[in-house]
Symmetry: C2
Amino acid sequence: MAVDYAAQILEGSHRAAARLISWLEDEDERAYECMKKLYPHTGRAYVLGITGSPGAGKSTLTNGLAREIRKSGLKVGIVAVDPSSPFTGGALLGDRVRMSELAEDPDIYIRSMATRGFLGGMAKAAADVVKVLDALGKDVVLIETVGVGQDEVDIVGVADTTCVVLVPGLGDAIQSMKAGIMEIADVFVINKADRPGADMLCAETCSRIEMDAHLRERGWLAPVKKTVAVEAEGIDELWLAIEDHRKFLLESGRFYQNRRERISREALRMIHAELFRVVREQLEKSGRLEAAVEKLMNKELDPYTLMRETVTEWLSSSRCERRHDEDTQS
Amino acid sequence: MAVDYAAQILEGSHRAAARLISWLEDEDERAYECMKKLYPHTGRAYVLGITGSPGAGKSTLTNGLAREIRKSGLKVGIVAVDPSSPFTGGALLGDRVRMSELAEDPDIYIRSMATRGFLGGMAKAAADVVKVLDALGKDVVLIETVGVGQDEVDIVGVADTTCVVLVPGLGDAIQSMKAGIMEIADVFVINKADRPGADMLCAETCSRIEMDAHLRERGWLAPVKKTVAVEAEGIDELWLAIEDHRKFLLESGRFYQNRRERISREALRMIHAELFRVVREQLEKSGRLEAAVEKLMNKELDPYTLMRETVTEWLSSSRCERRHDEDTQS
């Protein structure tokens, strides 16, 4: 008889959760059935995104936050997204090892995800894993990711509250803030705040936030919190700031609105991923891709025409449903 | 009367190329028509990818290579892909300014691309821009990108030869090489080779290459070249190594094979992007997405079922095309 992993996950089995996440990674059909069963039990966990450049100390901060949150008895899940970069892969591997110090607490579940091997992108994969931890009964799910590239920024889109971690001495913070960071940050963390330049960075960040008209309209000015994560300094205040943001979201109605937008984004992402999987399979199996590539090589066809024609064909065949009905009725 | 930008680009107009690339960035319909016309004139440029972690000196190296290549009279195009990271955006901006020193040479065309705003991903966008510079008559197109994240690794997939830039003292090089870098590197560059640790890094890289059975099978062992890009040292030898790789590709038949694979990948990627555009539009316009989101919010529906049902519908309507034909014939 098949083991009911969904039921086990709902009872809090870390082992069953690990199995399901592996299935998700392998695009195993069993994951699909299991996720369907879990979905009605999701949406309860508060999701916290932690992002920042490599070397900002995100892992230590994440560990510290997990410990702080555990003090109030809440259960914690951690999803560490490793961008599988050829350049940073090694360093992140080290972080995972450091994380294992938390692994003894049965109410903390940590899962690190390599991003390779997930069709449909990291953001979809992260959203799936968050749902598993949510169904597992974790009250707070932390997603830790390196904020480089659009894909990684999308991951944070899964979070209710996003903390952006800055450190003194890592390049021109003010410059960097122009490029989209202001929109995603709900709370700024100046980590390694015992380093020279921390007060300056803090002041610059604050003034940048106050100057931003768009942010004022949003009704929430991101607080800037100083931490020294390795010394566990400032983590309690950071958690209070996060709780403040949660209250703001709930009281302003933004919580519901954000979740709705997230669900919409996720649905589109999933439909797109599945559709492409099917289209690709059909193009490859039928030999049509191969034939098209031959023509593209010989310049008898251009990829822009191929793209339009392929998609139009799917579209028009979608319209034919009606034509077919009319034909058979007449 | 409409200006024929495709014709102007084929005559070498940088201004027309800049216009077309802006259209590509804006997803302007005119770009599509123009790219169709240019496609038969592409495939001539040799494409060189330059990747490495932030701070490896890629921009200076790219500039140096451009100057070296110009010595033999070849025309050069440079595509600098800026991952638009909230964290590194500022630093890369500085690189672009440094690049402007080359801008006086009319046979060098430089374009930096922010990755936001390109639907369909960076790799597709980079491939499009390379085609424009190719049609513009550039003999060698250099793509410079920060090698962080899968998306950026995909960009390098556009290149015929990929140079991976390492520097002494930037983390554990041997660790990082485990994570996929060996497969993408055709030539290794140890830049800032006047720094302590350069010889060690060079020796480690060489031994790592020699140990790799998979690489030996490929028939090409990536050479390791030392440069000091800011002093223009070693650039000539690097260019010779790149030319060696080009000869290897041509003589082994890998050149044709790689290009074929690239065209296949690109075609799929374009279909992927177009499919998303169209599906999204249809689901949004028809109000079906909105209705589904309502049900998802209330847990009356789960996104996995939605995904399968939506795609199955597209599929069955695709099959109905044949049924329709049969019906009308009978």
